[in-house]
Amino acid sequence: MIHAAGALPRLTVISVVDILVVAFVIYEFLALIKGTRAALILVGVTVIALSVYFLRLEGLVTLTWVVNRVRPYALIALVVVFAPEIREALARLGRRLTMTRASGSESDAYDDIVLAANLFSQNQTGALMVIEREIGLRTYVESGVALEARLSYDLLATIFRPSAPLHDGAVIVHGDRVAAAACFLPLSMNPVLSTQLGTRHRAGIGITEETDAIAVIVSEETGSISLAVAGSIERDLTVDQLRERMGQLLRRYVPPTVLPTPMTNGGGILDETEEEMPVRGSEQHSKPGGPR
């Protein structure tokens, strides 16, 4: 037990546990809303709450009356305002408690990524798919076009179709949903990387340097499939190897499967040649769609 000087209340072991638990809850909430509009709302709410607390509304009879009337509904209002964040927090807690990295639907969704990579490889269509893990990719999601669509093979094939408006950039996958397409990613500045690697590959590596995401990259030039994890890249993977590696990284069982046979160029929807990607934005953040 600690007796702090002055007016500090008695600090016991239980108090320390109490503070740590509350700190954890506050941290999880702040981490959840960091970088979102909810953070700005929270700043506004905090400023109002602090103003009311410190001013004590001495002499301000009308304002005191208003605050007293509104206060009972403030908690309900906060729950309504932060409903999506609360839902997300509870879902995250549930995921942690059940120790699941990928649900059944997510597992199926990742299979769609592998199948799509197979298609892009056969048709030599450039593609970059980033899969979010523990660290949120909200900053990058907001740089692209928000989709929040259920992830499927057909959706990916449509997005990366060379004539499609969203093909130029990265797709960010969050759980079993495509959070956004045409996203800007940070380019890796690693000088050790091969000079053969173009913008798309560097963007794929760049995002894995800054976060714990994994990136699946299909070369437009050769059709080869690469996987970027933690700033390093595994090149020229077969589809089976990609499947296996993704299974390891996302910690799930990968049953053997038969992949579709190569498509013919004649009637394929992805047989057009993709034009070279213009590097947009700053030097560090580019939309990865360049050749290689």
Partner: protein
């Protein structure tokens, strides 16, 4: 996983936010424990 990686991932990641959370939690505990927050 190396100790450095563990520290980077679980301790240093979002360190400022962790410090702010701890400060807020301590402040809240102080207000509640001293009866200033009824």
């Amino acid at each position: 996983m190396k100790i450095g990686d563990l520290l980077r991932r679980y301790v240093f990641h979002n360190l400022a936010l962790k410090m702010i959370s701890l400060l807020l939690a301590f402040g809240l505990w102080y207000l509640v424990a001293s009866g200033k927050l009824n």
